[in-house]
């Protein structure tokens, strides 16, 4: 590789040769490559400086406890055949389990698990652990087709390359998880809310400071004409939380088609979650609004009740009986509360990221929210709430907000019908 440099020369000075080798691994120009390219460029250089025939990286898959061949030079079939080595077994598995380098001067089925290595004719090998934040994330190894004795210096050089590779892999994984979580989150939070005659909808979703958290909302109509609203908050963050969120969202939609009883929908969701995702926990609010938009049937699973603003009145926390979180107790029963929605009223659904403020009891945040919500047009109301509560500080946690407003009575013959503001 690298084109037609002059003939390979024997370096007379071993110290200089070693410095050159180190330079080759730590070369700053490598940093300009993306992480995947860096990994294969590093393997090429490792093979070159150690005068080896093969070089490979296996990465640990935590869920299966196996090392998976991920990058290779001179050993590409490892990747194509999807080689997997259990931690603790064989050459690479021993390195991962012991966190220690291993030198092999005798390669056959008794020392190496992967038949590709011995059928290829590799005679000697050396491998080192790839460590990030104190944990083994993989193994880097090189092999030689002619018998040779790898030295402590070789191990040291290989370890330097492995350390650099570990950093690259770490950032590669973090970045792809982050992108996947963000993409999943975007696909889960509806960008276009359904058009419902007589109602106005407006939503906001702001991801938290670090990783994407587990908040979502959903709005859909049923064949009966009922309008359904879901707000949820999965414990955790990043890709795992986003995946759980996606499963909960689609399961809830499926149950919503089967029954219009919100407690039944959440009960089935809870049952499903406790069976298939026993470690997950989430708060969920599920509201079924009558086709006439005059009332909603609400069921809470550990979620905050909505705020309701009736025209001409101060907004209040809706009086809704609480219900247990999803994922705690198998036979949880949750009450359903019916809340009237007079014409012109606005219902504000949210997640706790909106009301949390350091050092403050939750009632202070709820009070602030009630003062910020007014029975006006939904989008303006959402903007006002975000201005008052989210302000300009970066959110530590996700914020999800959804406004549903029942439009004021229609104009009849050009005369506005009286606004009815007191049916609660």
């Amino acid at each position: 590789m690298g084109g037609g440099e002059v003939t390979a020369q024997v370096d007379p000075d071993p110290v200089e040769a070693r410095l050159r080798a180190i330079q080759s691994i730590t070369d700053a120009t490598l940093s300009a490559l993306d992480d995947r390219e860096l990994l294969s460029a590093l393997l090429d250089r490792v093979r070159e400086i150690l005068e080896a025939d093969t070089a490979a990286v296996l990465l640990l898959d935590v869920s299966s406890g196996q090392l998976i061949a991920t990058a290779a030079a001179g050993l590409e079939e490892e990747i194509r055949q999807g080689v997997r080595i259990p931690v603790g077994h064989g050459f690479a598995g021993r390195i991962a389990a012991s966190h220690q380098p291993v030198i092999l001067d005798h390669v056959d089925h008794t020392t190496v698990l992967n038949p590709i290595l011995w059928t290829k004719g590799i005679k000697s090998m050396v491998g080192v652990p790839m460590v990030a934040a104190g944990r083994v994330i993989g193994v880097m190894h090189v092999g030689s087709l002619t018998p040779r004795q790898f030295t402590a210096d070789d191990v040291e050089l290989l370890q330097m390359a492995a350390d650099r590779a570990a950093v690259a892999v770490q950032s590669m994984t973090a970045q792809s998880d982050r992108l996947a979580a963000a993409a999943l989150q975007r696909s889960l939070v509806p960008t276009a809310l359904p058009a419902v005659a007589g109602a106005e909808l407006a939503g906001r979703y702001i991801p938290g400071d670090g990783a994407v958290g587990g908040d979502w909302y959903d709005v859909f109509t049923l064949p009966s004409g009922e309008l359904c609203v879901v707000m949820g908050d999965v414990a955790g963050s990043g890709l795992p939380a986003a995946v759980i969120m996606g499963r909960m969202r689609s399961a809830l939609r499926a149950y919503a088609l089967e029954t219009s009883d919100p407690a039944e929908v959440l009960g089935r969701l809870d049952h499903k979650m406790q069976h298939f995702e026993p470690d997950a926990m989430a708060t969920v609010l599920y509201a079924v609004i009558d086709p006439a938009l005059d009332k909603m049937h609400l069921c809470l699973a550990g979620h905050f009740p909505p705020v309701i603003a009736r025209p001409g009145q101060r907004a209040k926390l809706a009086r809704v009986a609480p219900g247990l979180l999803i994922g705690v107790f198998a036979e949880a029963r949750r009450p359903v509360t019916t809340v009237p929605i007079p014409p012109g009223a606005l219902v504000c659904f949210y997640t706790d990221g909106l009301i949390e403020r350091p050092g403050e009891p939750i009632d202070a945040g709820l009070g602030r929210l009630c003062r910020a919500v007014t029975a006006g047009p939904a989008d303006a109301a959402a903007a006002a709430v975000m201005r008052e509560l989210a302000g300009s500080d970066p959110a530590r946690d996700d914020i999800a907000l959804l406004m549903v407003r029942r439009r004021p009575e229609q104009h009849v013959n050009g005369v506005a019908a009286k606004e009815d503001d007191g049916d609660g």
């Binding site: 938290g208 414990a235 963050s237 926990m281 247990l324 050092g359 939750i362």
Partner: protein
């Protein structure tokens, strides 16, 4: 703000007590989890979480407490939370967890539970 948000584990009269800070959220829930495991390991199944100072606890924090509660129950032990009337108790009422995890108003009660303590799920 979260710099001092530690979770010290003290042993009072032989019972491990985890003291929680003002805020428990996604930024420190892992530390809470670690402190709960430590307390569970030292308390032979019985330990106390003193949440007197805590004003806010998000789902990540609740998740850690529920997991600790489930684990100790399976092992025949008990976690008791200390939550005075104001503060974080409100969040436990909203989430329904006040019906699930045993809780009392003062540390004193938690350390000397009456023989017929209220039954929780």
């Amino acid at each position: 703000m979260t710099a001092e948000a530690r979770f010290p584990v003290e042993v009072v009269g032989g019972v491990p007590v985890v003291v929680t800070p003002e805020e428990i959220d996604i930024t420190n829930a892992d530390e809470l989890r670690a402190a709960l495991s430590e307390a569970a390991a030292h308390g032979q199944g019985r330990f106390v979480v003193d949440m007197t100072r805590t004003q806010f606890c998000d789902t990540a924090g609740l998740h850690a407490l529920v997991a600790a509660h489930k684990r100790t129950r399976t092992g025949g032990g008990q976690v008791t939370l200390v939550m005075p009337g104001a503060g974080v108790l409100r969040i436990f009422e909203i989430t329904g967890l006040d019906q699930v995890i045993p809780h009392v108003a003062t540390l004193q009660e938690a350390l000397a539970p009456p023989p017929d303590a209220p039954q929780f799920l």
